[in-house]
Symmetry: C2
Subunit: 251 residues, 2 copies
């Protein structure tokens, strides 16, 4: 079905050791998807590169966690997925995983290891790994896992972009408007809100109108939906009118 032995004219930057990442752009399939391979074993990198490229993915290989972390972060729109070796000199796969998670990275990780122990696999899965495969790796399993990872990443990116747009808008609200916002989405009447905030109804109306404009909501219903999405993110300082880039904890 799938031919792993793809004979194509590919320009490998460095056949042997790649201090700089290798990239081969696949042609068909899930075009645009980017798969990172981090493994200290050159032969493993090579075969994975071959397999994934043949499957149509763009591939970038790294010989260490350090090299991967130093990669040029292109903010592209492509879905990404990381195939990570557990045991490596320097930073090992598991530590890289937790480190990335802590730094806010949400890139899906598929572990591949030759020395799989239960403890490591469980730890990896608990932290959110897509899969944990042991060598010799079943190609179909790997490709399936990578696909799951890419799909998941696409969804996460989608969600992030929506959330960022919302947070961005929320950031345009003045503190007062945010207070009113919080009460409006509760279903309170202008009169009640006015009472609670100690002002008159007319004022609330004005705030309300500005809120609808700034949040780009066409109706209270939409506003409520936004509030629900923002739910956990609300009450956050949301430093007024700051770009609020990908700093977003998705849980």
């Amino acid at each position: 079905m799938r031919s792993t032995s793809v004979a194509r004219s590919v320009s490998r930057s460095t056949p042997g050791e790649p201090p700089r990442p290798t990239e081969r752009s696949g042609r068909g399939g899930a075009a645009g998807s980017l798969v990172f391979v981090v493994d200290d074993d050159a032969s493993v990198r090579k075969s994975l590169d071959r397999l994934l490229s043949a499957a149509g993915y763009r591939v970038q290989t790294f010989d260490s966690a350090r090299a991967f972390l130093a990669r040029t972060q292109l903010p592209g729109e492509d879905s990404q997925c990381l195939i990570l070796d557990v045991r490596m000199p320097g930073i090992n796969g598991l530590d890289l995983q937790t480190s990335m998670r802590n730094s806010g990275s949400t890139i899906p990780i598929v572990f591949s290891t030759g020395f799989g122990d239960v403890t490591s696999s469980v730890r990896a899965m608990k932290v959110g790994a897509v899969d944990f495969l042991t060598k010799p790796i079943d190609e179909d399993e790997l490709l399936a896992a990578v696909q799951r990872g890419l799909t998941l990443d696409a969804e996460t990116r989608q969600l992030k972009s929506v959330m960022n747009a919302l947070i961005q808008r929320l950031g345009r609200l003045t503190p007062r408007e945010r207070q009113v916002f919080a009460l409006v989405v509760t279903g309170m009447l202008n009169k009640q809100i006015a009472g609670q905030l100690g002002t008159c109804e007319r004022t609330i109306k004005v705030h309300r109108a500005r809120i609808m404009k700034k949040m780009e909501a066409g109706s209270v219903a939409e506003l409520v939906r936004m509030a629900v999405k923002l739910g956990p993110a609300i009450d956050a300082p949301a430093n007024d009118r700051a770009p609020v880039q990908s700093r977003l904890v998705l849980r």
Copy 2:
């Protein structure tokens, strides 16, 4: 800190093999929480029973998956958690896990096994196991995992009960009212809804009023929140005015 060697007068039903489940009610700590132990090894059951009881949990042990499945399902409000052995004669732990998940059970599972292989652990974690511990089991780890499981179960039960209440109310709506409901929570005006449904505004107002009553919503905002919660469950047949018991797919 914790004394595993609790010397208390406990009435064990059958010291040796327990075709019928054992139960010991703990006294302090997380009172009310119920922990099931399924393991074919009597000595393991015994020690876990002792450990968990000492920690204050009510414990029920079973010597096989079959015995566990045959347990008397008490619909109590207590949080539950299952400690499951992987390798057992008859139905093994992993199969019991998937079987339970497929049948809609959401009880958190903590695996404990003496023969942990990576494949099994990964499979178990992917299906949603709380943890996968290998023997000899670290008591603190086990207790921590059980506590996570119980907490998770409490949250799941809370969510389920809320969802059931909502589905219950949704079931009281007539088909027409449900149509209007769907459009109202979109933020459409009565006039627009009327146009789309081919009736007059006055009619929509009536439906709307009934919807608010039946759904027990105090405001459109609340109604929208309900719709958001029901979101995935909507469009479901929701056989009119049927009790709709725990049949609910939480994803």
